[in-house]
């Protein structure tokens, strides 16, 4: 094992064995000796080849050193752009090399240099697959903090954004970046999030989901409390609304906090479409939410307890289709819902070409044949299909999954007590939502507690004042150019 305080001892014969010892079992370890062109001084270059850009190293460092350098000052100027500093402790050197830095030692000197030549493999910036939009931005986050920060900054032309690095986890090995707007974010939330981040004590976090789990307020809740997204426009608008973004270098997800229940029903497209359309879509999502949670349970309650609320014409056809089914509605519903969930999960995991055939098997074979065989009723198939469609309109996948899961308790409640059971379920769910906090903000806001000023922006989207108003405000801000340009547009 490495001795903590072991120091570099000058001289080529001293250094080579030490390096070889430290990286004995590392297969991509490379060690090269070259000589400076003008005076023949030995230079030792060593690195781990998979995380180092070898072309760049050869082009910018090795070749100039051998061919171009004519004085020691020129050597310095070749190294200067990428040099991180001079090091003497082997521990620092080793850590640096693991991070992708290049070790360089000029024979006879008392210390070695580390050069930044790292190149981590990372994906190209492309449109996120699972959060697609009609008109939103076409770039999504990738597994690199540099790119992700750049993508966010690209959306926010604001020099005051605070970018706070937090080292946490066991021995400070986890590295997160908090990004927020100092005027908009609530300082109480910032301190709270910072404190929670620092309390993490795990060796390594594989994904943003794990980080979210250790930061959220209520671990036992079915509902998502923090937003994970791959879209820079979502993060940027969140930051401008006073939320705090958390980035972690090695995942393509960025987390936003604090979130409210209703904000999971907003989509990135909402800012790009015309307001009547958006308002209509939002309404659709809320109707979808209600259908996805309550339709199967309402159906179960109606056919097992409250026949009298079904209109007489309908009761005849429902009754006819129920007649042939040997199992009680709850079993029928559970069976169909579970099959549906399996289909969904299967088509998600399978390669796309096979996935299509799952749809055919599920849709035709199970749907049609099960009805004809008298295993389930027609109405139940319709109910389940409607529920599925309603749950697919949700823009946020975490919330959609929670909604799909929530309908099972409601179905059981309906089976036990009919409508009364459903209403009791509603009350328990609502009490759960209103008693939760996300950081220091109430999760149920702005509905409960009522904040009518915010309803305008969350429930519907009304016109934002528009171009005329803005042109006038530009005049008030005595900016003659903005004024004239807006006039010329008119």
């Amino acid at each position: 094992m490495l001795d903590q305080e072991e120091r570099l001892r000058p001289g080529m014969p001293e250094i080579k064995p030490v390096l070889q010892r430290h990286f004995k079992e590392v297969s991509d370890f490379v060690m090269k000796s070259i000589r400076l062109g003008f005076n023949g001084q030995a230079v030792l270059i060593s690195y781990l080849s998979v995380v180092v850009d070898e072309d760049k190293l050869s082009r910018d460092i090795i070749q100039p050193l051998i061919l171009k350098a004519e004085t020691i000052e020129q050597v310095e100027s070749i190294l200067e752009p990428v040099r991180l500093g001079s090091y003497e402790r082997w521990e620092d050197i080793n850590k640096g090399m693991w991070k992708g830095h290049v070790f360089l030692y000029l024979d006879g000197e008392a210390h070695a240099y580390l050069l930044n030549m790292s190149s981590w493999p990372s994906a190209q910036v492309k449109e996120p697959d699972n959060e697609s939009t009609l008109k939103g931005t076409r770039s999504g986050f990738i597994d690199s903090n540099h790119t992700n920060l750049a993508l966010i900054r690209h959306h926010i032309p604001e020099e005051r954004l605070i970018q706070q690095e937090v080292r946490t986890g066991h021995e400070g090995k986890i590295h997160a970046v908090m990004l927020y707007h100092p005027d908009k974010a609530d300082p109480a939330n910032v301190t709270e999030l910072n404190a929670r981040l620092r309390r993490i004590d795990s060796q390594a976090l594989m994904s943003m989901g794990e980080l979210a789990e250790s930061l959220e307020d209520n671990n036992y809740s079915m509902l998502p409390q923090l937003l994970l997204t791959e879209r820079p426009d979502v993060v940027a608008s969140g930051i401008m609304e006073g939320k705090i973004a958390i980035l972690m270098g090695h995942t393509s997800q960025v987390m936003l906090a604090p979130m409210t229940f209703l904000s999971f029903f907003l989509s990135a497209d909402d800012r790009n479409l015309r307001w009547p359309v958006v308002t209509f879509f939002r309404l659709l999502r809320f109707i979808g939410l209600v259908i996805a949670i309550f339709l199967p349970s309402f159906y179960i309650a109606a056919v097992s307890y409250h026949y009298e609320i079904i209109p007489i014409d309908l009761v005849l056809s429902v009754g006819k289709s129920l007649e042939r089914v040997p199992v009680p509605p709850i079993l029928e519903a559970l069976f169909m819902e579970l099959i549906l969930e399996m289909l969904r999960e299967a088509s998600l995991r399978l390669p796309p070409k096979v996935g299509q055939s799952v749809g055919i098997v599920g849709g035709i074979v199970i749907g049609q044949a099960a009805v004809e065989a008298g295993l389930v009723s027609n109405v139940m198939v319709i109910v389940v299909a409607l529920t599925a469609i309603a749950s697919f309109v949700q823009p946020n996948q975490d919330m959609a999954a929670a909604v799909r899961l929530l309908r099972f308790p409601f179905m059981i409640a309906a089976f036990l007590m009919g409508l009364v059971g459903i209403v009791i379920g509603i009350m328990v769910l609502v009490t759960h939502i209103i008693s939760m906090q996300s950081l220091k903000a109430p999760y149920g806001s702005p509905l409960f507690p009522i904040d009518t000023k915010k309803w305008r922006s969350v429930l519907a989207r009304l016109p934002q004042g528009g171009f005329r108003n803005r042109a006038d405000s530009a005049v008030a801000g005595n900016d003659p150019q903005a004024d004239s340009s807006s006039r010329s547009k008119r």
Binding site: I309, I310, M417, G418, T431, L447
Partner: protein
């Protein structure tokens, strides 16, 4: 009592009282009121509203002079330590009994209208789940629940308007045709549905803006008055006073006029949804009782007393399975108690406090 640091906004305060007032009362009010006052019951309601507001005024007057004090502290300051504690114990008993009466009445109504064959004990257990979840929360969260109830029951009163198709405005005439006596007679019946404003005692120390405390009581009472008068007038116009005397739950009968192409017997859905409202009433009174117990025995928070009360309620439901007739008798008798606690007590308390102050002044 719980620490006064928990803050309740003015809106939450109003809705909390308003939705506590609206409970089982609305469902039977037209019937009870018509029996006492005929078709002029709405005048009795107005008088009842005045009395309720006056009573609320006395409450706030006394609470105002003991800033930072909870109900418990105020009682001890006005009445002395032991008398104060005894009165608090009475309040605990009263609020706990209110929970029981409302709960078992609700269970009876559900059994008659929605779930005919359901076991009474099971229903009690099921209805207590949300009450328990809610009453053990912080007061802030309960305030939010009141807001939820307010928003999500907004659609309910207008449904009564469906019945206006077949209403006869002539049923309202003659106004005060039987003289003054029936109207005065109806006051008693119209006092009971306004009960719920006495939670102001409990809420006052937690208010964000205490100067508007009385305005809150006034607003809550007025909102309730609107609903009551609206329901009373519509059902009188729809049924006529003669018919109203025979229907036990005229408000639900009114809803039979609601017809929709996809749902029949709409009153069943309505009544099931109505449980959301009744839960607010139940949890408010349960919280009152639990907070009282908390300061009587000096426990850390109100969660354990809530559990204790819930267990008690289940125990009672285990032993005693009241029928509708029994329940009517019990709640008829209990009305007198609650009028005493809700209307006479604040007045007495205020007199007590005034007398004390005057005595002090005289001594000086």
């Amino acid at each position: 009592m719980s620490t006064p640091s928990q803050q309740l906004s003015h809106k939450q305060y109003i809705f909390y009282m308003y939705k506590t007032q609206i409970g089982i009362g609305v469902l039977i009010l037209p019937n009870v009121l018509t029996k006492a006052a005929g078709n002029s019951g709405w005048i009795s309601l107005l008088l009842g509203w005045m009395i309720a507001t006056a009573s609320g005024y006395f409450m706030i007057q006394v609470m105002k002079r003991h800033p930072g004090q909870t109900f418990d502290g105020m009682l001890q300051a006005v009445l002395g330590k032991w008398a104060g504690r005894t009165v608090l114990a009475l309040w605990v008993a009263y609020t706990a009994c209110t929970v029981a009466v409302v709960l078992y009445t609700e269970v009876n109504i559900i059994q008659i209208w929605i779930l005919r064959d359901m076991n009474q004990l099971l229903l009690v257990l099921a209805l207590l789940i949300p009450v328990y979840r809610l009453a053990r929360c912080r007061l802030q969260v309960q305030g939010r629940y009141a807001e939820f109830v307010y928003i999500f029951t907004f659609w309910m009163p207008p449904l009564v308007l469906f019945s206006l198709k077949e209403a006869h405005a002539l049923n309202l005439l003659p106004i005060a045709g039987d003289g003054l006596w029936p109207i005065l007679n109806g006051i008693r019946a119209s006092l009971v549905p306004f009960l719920g404003f006495e939670t102001a005692f409990l809420l006052y120390p937690h208010l964000q803006d205490k100067t508007k405390a009385f305005k809150g009581v006034l607003a809550a009472n007025s909102l309730s008055l609107l609903i009551y008068i609206f329901v009373f007038l519509t059902s009188t116009m729809y049924f006529s006073s003669e018919e109203l005397r025979t229907y036990l739950w005229p408000t639900l009968q009114l809803l039979k006029a609601v017809t929709m192409p996809f749902i029949e017997r709409f009153e069943i859905v309505f009544l099931a949804y109505y449980i959301i409202l009744v839960t607010q009433t139940l949890s408010a009174y349960l919280f009152f009782a639990a907070s009282g117990i908390q300061s009587l025995i000096g426990s850390k928070d109100h969660k354990r007393p809530v559990v204790l009360l819930i267990v008690l309620l289940i125990g009672v439901a285990w032993i005693w399975k009241p029928t509708l007739e029994e329940m009517e008798m019990v709640s008829g008798g209990f009305d007198t108690v609650s009028i005493g606690m809700g209307y006479v007590f604040p007045l007495l308390l205020w007199c007590c406090w005034e007398a004390r102050r005057m005595a002090k002044g005289a001594l000086r």
